[in-house]
Symmetry: C2
Subunit: 344 residues, 2 copies
């Protein structure tokens, strides 16, 4: 078991000083071609790799981007993660992934870990329950991360104000929901059930808001009986539609605040003998890979997931003062498929 070689071993073998080896490897400092070759040969000979920790310790950056999200399997998060990972790689960074499952304590712990790691950027992804406790917590995080040298990015989560030391990369939840609802409205639907998410969650509150605004724009009175809430899983969607059906309230269309709930709802409608889209039209949100495979293929609000992730990393890594508190809002569009039918 030969110990792992150090830069000293390389220097010795190449017959130069450690400083020279370091400079050859970093590539910035001018080194005579001859010397460079000798060093590179020695590196290959010993199969030497630098020690990232030693490098990070002595002033350089850690070259790590941290991604903090609810979980890793929900398509919404997975696709954002994909974008983050892509851009991190592009920028020669490694990508640290942590999940919170919605637990604030866990989140606190993760932020602490990230301060320890000196991550170049810490990206917090996805909607949250917005309240004073949250704001205060975020403020502490931001300060801690700032003087650990990390950039904080809020991704798919509203900004906490222009003075808040974080970059925000959002997509237009209100606009997307407005479009989706408008799409149903302009197809003649007036009784549109809303399958909403947890109350207080920034993402789902915004989607509900877009729904409201669209109704208003079309001068359709809002019927609270049409609005339900769930945890946005497939089972929740199934149950929500069942309740709606059982309650006897009439509706000809459904706007589900995400595709998973939409899928569950379609199953529920089918179970109740309702045909989609002949009896009930339905539109989802997120445009996950599942959407086109459902029967009928689900019309859904398409989000620029990957771009969201890429942009978050790009902005965070962009050096220069002032760049530390930007706010970007990306647009959405509707992916039209077969689950919506105009009302006669």
């Amino acid at each position: 078991m030969n110990k792992r070689p150090t830069i000293r071993d390389v220097a010795a073998l190449a017959g130069v000083s450690v400083a020279t080896v370091s400079r050859v490897l970093s590539g910035d400092y001018p080194v005579a071609g001859n010397t460079r070759t000798k060093v590179q040969r020695a590196v290959r000979e010993l199969d030497y790799v630098v020690n990232a920790h030693a490098r990070a310790l002595s002033g350089a950056t850690s070259n790590v981007v941290a991604l903090v999200m609810y979980d890793v399997v929900t398509p919404f998060f997975a696709h954002i993660a994909s974008g983050v990972e892509y851009q991190a790689t592009e920028s020669d960074r490694l990508c640290l992934v942590c999940t919170t499952h919605g637990d604030p304590d866990r989140e606190l712990e993760i932020v602490k870990l990230m301060r320890e790691q000196h991550a170049d950027a810490v990206i917090l992804v996805g909607g949250v329950l917005m309240n004073d406790d949250y704001r205060e917590r975020m403020y502490r995080y931001a300060k801690g991360l700032e003087d650990a040298g990390s950039r904080l990015v809020l991704c798919g989560r509203p900004s906490l104000g222009p003075d808040f030391p974080a970059i925000t990369v959002e997509y237009d939840n209100v606009g997307g929901a407005f479009s989706a609802t408008s799409h149903l409205l302009s197809s003649g639907h007036r009784r549109i059930a809303m399958l909403g998410g947890p109350v207080g969650n920034t993402t789902f509150d915004a989607r509900l808001d877009g729904y409201r605004k669209a109704l208003e724009a079309f001068r359709v009175p809002l019927d609270p009986a049409l609005i339900t809430h769930g945890d946005m899983g497939q089972e929740a969607g199934f149950r929500q539609i069942q309740q709606l059906l059982a309650s006897g309230v009439e509706f000809t269309a459904v706007f589900a605040a995400n595709d998973l709930a939409a899928a569950g709802a379609m199953r529920g409608l089918r179970a109740a003998g309702k045909r989609v889209p002949d009896d009930v039209s339905i539109i989802g949100y997120d445009d996950t890979p599942m959407a086109p495979e459902l029967t009928p293929a689900l019309t859904s609000v398409h989000l620029p997931h990957e771009e969201l992730g890429r942009t978050a990393v790009k902005l965070a890594l962009q050096r220069g003062e002032g760049s530390a508190r930007q706010h970007v809002m990306l647009g959405t569009h509707i992916a039209m498929r077969d689950s919506v039918r105009p009302l006669i």
Copy 2:
């Protein structure tokens, strides 16, 4: 902008030496309760967090587990990643995620990066094109990682032999495919089309092998015309089934080597006016979240994705000699749904 405090600042504030602070934080060495309290107060006062790189540098472990996989969004990988992340957190490790998109050069680079990082474990996930080049590459990786102090884990990928310095955590591809095919066979189907993956890929070769073995066990002759290959995406599944249909070969059932291809195939069958399962039965593989939402709900081979990931981490972190080259094989089972119908 107050600089981030060091252990020295804490020591000064608490009126003790840095050694003492270090010991209080590590928690192993005996420290008088009084001193401990003073130190903890100072830590809180300064909002001090250790520098992970400094800690890693001075002998301790890096507390990082690296996960290397094809991509981050395919449910197969996402669920394994979920298990890895879960167990890593459980073991107080952070989780570094890298994707290769099948590029061997990228993989090589990642392994180098992991050597630099001194990851506690490096987990390579998913099937690969098995050939001599691959074996040789793996051998180099294994050696390099070994004397960087990292454990190498092959997850969902066959072992390279008992002497190979790596842990292997597999699931039974042959067995799963055997069961799936047998399920169709015992339902009376004899003409079973196979939607296979890339030739040479360990995962899909094994699934094809299980298909063959099942036919053999039922003494059903294998018809090469029923076997197709694709890249296992939804489009591939769609195209493969179209070709099959166009070629005129008869079949009453389809075994798709993953759910994505199965979904595409179902779409293709529907487009061709074939009803599932009335005209054609179909069974998938991986049991992704999409499976129960398809119409009809797709019967599929369920894999212990999460457990695979958890086991990989658990074994890798288990210290003790000899534990460095274990081999675990997890089982699969069929999730019965509505896409298979007995032939009269």
